[in-house]
């Protein structure tokens, strides 16, 4: 970024800090009390008490996740091992005659051995080369492969946190998405994933909850799948993980 630009942004930031004081003073004045600078007491925070105790057993969790995810138009498969999961992905890629596959640059996903299993397909690993145009690669990919951080049974959702090796585009731009979920990462409630975020010092830039394929009912209430995000979403729950 040019220095001129840096200076301009800095100026804006300075101006904004002053404006902030004005703004907040205005609020306090309207509320007819002095500015509040200490964290206020909160007797009631987050979900109601009874909800925090809601927890499902292993089998029920998986069943509920599957039910909800499939109700939203997604697919849920079980794989005993990572190798099984790899076979599922390869079979699908071959079936659909996929030409480009993009996976997150994670060790577990490397162990899938997709590159070796389908040498005729271009399999790339997110952000492993600083000179590549990764958004373009994601846009041209037929299949994206990610390792979900969590799966939430009650809402039928996957939780995906971004990082250097985990691009947001990998779960967004390709036409078909495979999300691998370690069985041990399946939780019951959304709050189980959200609450720890309050404790983290620094959050990733993107925290995405995905609950099925992209959809819209904007045209005469007629449901259509695959509007901007992936239209086909598979979750593969891996038992050994």
């Amino acid at each position: 970024m040019s220095n001129a630009r840096k200076d301009w942004l800095q100026q804006l930031d300075e101006a904004s800090k002053q404006k902030q004081e004005q703004f907040l003073n205005g609020i306090a004045a309207k509320l007819q009390r002095p500015r509040m600078t200490q964290k206020p007491q909160r007797p009631l925070q987050g979900a109601p008490q009874f909800w925090e105790q809601f927890e499902l057993g292993e089998v029920e969790k998986l069943e509920m996740f599957q039910r909800n995810f499939e109700a939203a138009g997604g697919y849920v498969l079980r794989a005993a091992t990572l190798a099984d999961a790899s076979n599922i992905i390869v079979d699908k890629a071959v079936e659909l005659k996929a030409m480009h596959v993009l996976r997150q640059d994670e060790q577990l996903l490397e162990q899938l051995g997709l590159e070796q299993a389908m040498p005729q397909v271009k399999v790339r690993s997110w952000n492993d080369d600083a000179l590549e145009d990764w958004k373009a690669r994601a846009a041209e990919a037929d299949i994206g492969v990610v390792l979900a951080d969590y799966a939430i049974a009650y809402t039928g959702s996957l939780a995906l946190l971004s990082s250097k090796t985990k691009g947001r585009s990998v779960s967004l731009l390709p036409t078909l998405l495979f999300a691998l979920v370690p069985r041990s990462s399946v939780v019951t409630r959304l709050g189980e994933v959200l609450q720890p975020l309050d404790e983290l010092k620094r959050l990733p830039a993107g925290i995405h909850f995905v609950s099925g394929p992209s959809r819209s009912a904007d045209i005469e209430n007629d449901l259509t799948i695959g509007v901007h995000g992936p239209g086909i979403v598979y979750t593969i729950i891996i038992d050994e993980l």
Binding site: K19, A47, G167, L203, G206, S211, R215, I219, H228
Partner: protein, 504 residues
């Protein structure tokens, strides 16, 4: 493409009449609102303990608004620490000016937008066009109405008033080829077209469903994926946020995520819920390099400290009130004549401006049935607020002169039972001219409205209070003894209430 506003002519009554005469619109709105409303009821029931969740949602919002200076300050400071450029805008013009500065500095030629009512409110698209920056709506419904040069008619389903043939026509023109009126084909076209736009755009514009104060993050709820697109692909991101759209923590988000999707469409969760905390980290492979958040006031702070309207700021823009409102169901969104429609719009539009003299009669387009209050996930008493709006208009002297005369008459007649009696006697006499078969069908003057759809009843020959004397003596003569069980219960009730004191 240009984006003029749909011209808003006439009064609410006139616009409503237009809507009522448009059969397709009425059918479409009815079908959609029923679908969404029953979806919500089903989802709420399935989830269980809905009232407790509503109350919790209300408490969280009330608390946040009551301490808004603290939480907004926290949010801004934390956002800055994440590398966000935070801006404060008192008015729509301020927000536009900041946005245009950013766009100009970037020499932006195109901006892709996800759905944001705030950007509608400030007319962002027009402003961007004016500096030769194409502003492209990417939500399917919004894209469609942008092509049609119209404004959204429902908070959640903006193109509810368009049928598939109209949509096919609009998109065919856009495509330069004839597209069939089939949803999947039409949606497929838009997906392809907008892909290019996403990848080429200089700026991504989002709204903000909830800002999280403690981490300086913003959260977006959507089903299509376009909000994720505009916040991942373009190099610059500008997020517009109403100053009240904020909650303290991620734990609180669970409550909002439980209430919002169910109330809006009956879903357990929208397909995508994205928490964005600052621009990309240096090591990330995607995400915007530069992120701005513009926090907008535009009349919201006017509600603070006003006991009748402060709760208005609790609103999470779910649209449940629209789906529950029988008036909305019959007249659709455009008749409301503002950015926001339905019950929330009827209150927000005047409340944000507080320019009583210019308020139109939108607050009168309600039978005060309270369905909106019942549907609201954060329990905003919209039906009471509508009465408050009416009262303020009257107190400021902007009521209709005829109504004022009528009401003064009401006051005089009702303050004294003798006058009341006389008035009723006169009414009984006067009605002789128009009563036929015990009913009144004339459509003159104030009767016109009523009798265009009904037969009015005549005033009964004998008023209850006139009959009372006779009835009372008849019943006294019967002198039935008080049923002991009943009497006991009444005594119990009195004791419970006043500690035994009675007016024996």
């Amino acid at each position: 493409m240009s984006t003029q506003q749909t011209e808003l002519k006439g009064t609410v009554k006139e616009r409503a009449q237009l809507a009522l005469n448009n059969d397709f619109l009425r059918q479409a709105v009815k079908f959609t609102t029923e679908r969404l409303r029953s979806g919500k009821l089903k989802a709420a029931e399935e989830h269980g303990n809905w009232e407790e969740w509503r109350e919790r949602g209300r408490q969280i919002r009330l608390h946040t608004i009551a301490h808004l200076d603290y939480y907004l300050g926290e949010f801004a400071n934390n956002a800055r620490e994440n590398g966000v450029h935070v801006h404060f805008a008192d008015t729509a013009q301020d927000a536009i000016s900041i946005a245009l500065q950013i766009a100009k500095a970037k020499e932006a030629k195109s901006a892709v937008k996800s759905k944001s009512m705030v950007t509608e409110e400030i007319h962002l698209n027009q402003a961007l066009q004016s500096i030769d920056c194409e502003a492209i709506e990417t939500d399917l419904g919004e894209y469609i109405i942008q092509l049609a040069n119209e404004t959204p008619s429902h908070i959640i389903i903006p193109a509810i008033h368009k049928n598939r043939y109209q949509i096919a026509e609009l998109l065919s023109e856009d495509a330069g080829e004839q597209l069939p009126p089939e949803t999947s084909v039409l949606a497929g076209y838009v997906r392809k077209k907008l892909r290019e736009k996403f990848l080429q755009a200089d700026i991504g514009v989002t709204g903000c469903n909830f800002a999280i104060a403690e981490s300086g993050s913003i959260v977006l709820f959507e089903n299509e994926g376009n909000a994720r697109m505009v916040s991942t692909v373009p190099k610059t991101q500008i997020t517009f946020m109403g100053m009240e759209r904020i909650i303290p923590s991620w734990a609180d988000l669970e409550v909002m995520a439980t209430l919002l999707p169910r109330s809006a469409t009956g879903q357990k969760l929208t397909v995508y819920m994205s928490g964005i905390t600052g621009p990309k980290r240096e090591e990330d492979g995607d995400g915007p390099e530069e992120m701005h958040i513009i926090i907008l006031d535009n009349g919201r702070s006017l509600q603070l400290g006003d006991p009748e309207f402060q709760e208005l700021l609790n609103c999470i823009r779910c649209g449940a009130c629209l789906n529950a409102c029988p008036v909305y169901r019959h007249i659709g969104g455009h008749a409301y004549g503002g950015t926001y429609s339905g019950p929330i719009g009827a209150v927000l539009t005047p409340a944000l401006k507080k320019n009583v003299a210019e308020w139109d009669d939108i607050a009168n387009a309600s039978s005060l049935c309270g369905a909106c209050y019942e549907a609201c996930p954060v329990k905003i008493p919209l039906h009471d607020m509508l009465v408050s709006l009416r009262r303020r208009k009257v107190e400021a002297g902007h009521d209709h002169p005829l109504e004022r005369v009528g009401m003064k008459g009401f006051g005089t007649v009702m303050s004294n039972v003798k006058v009341y009696h006389r008035a009723l006697k006169l009414g009984k006499l006067g009605q002789k001219v128009v009563v036929r078969d015990g009913g009144i069908r004339t459509k003159i003057g104030p009767l016109k409205g009523w009798n265009s759809h009904r037969v009015a009843p005549s005033i009964s020959k004998q008023l209850f209070r006139e009959q009372y004397g006779e009835l009372r003596s008849e019943l006294d003569q019967q002198a039935k003894a008080a049923d002991p069980a009943v009497a006991a219960r009444m005594r119990e009730w009195l004791t419970g209430r006043d500690g035994g004191a009675s007016h024996e």
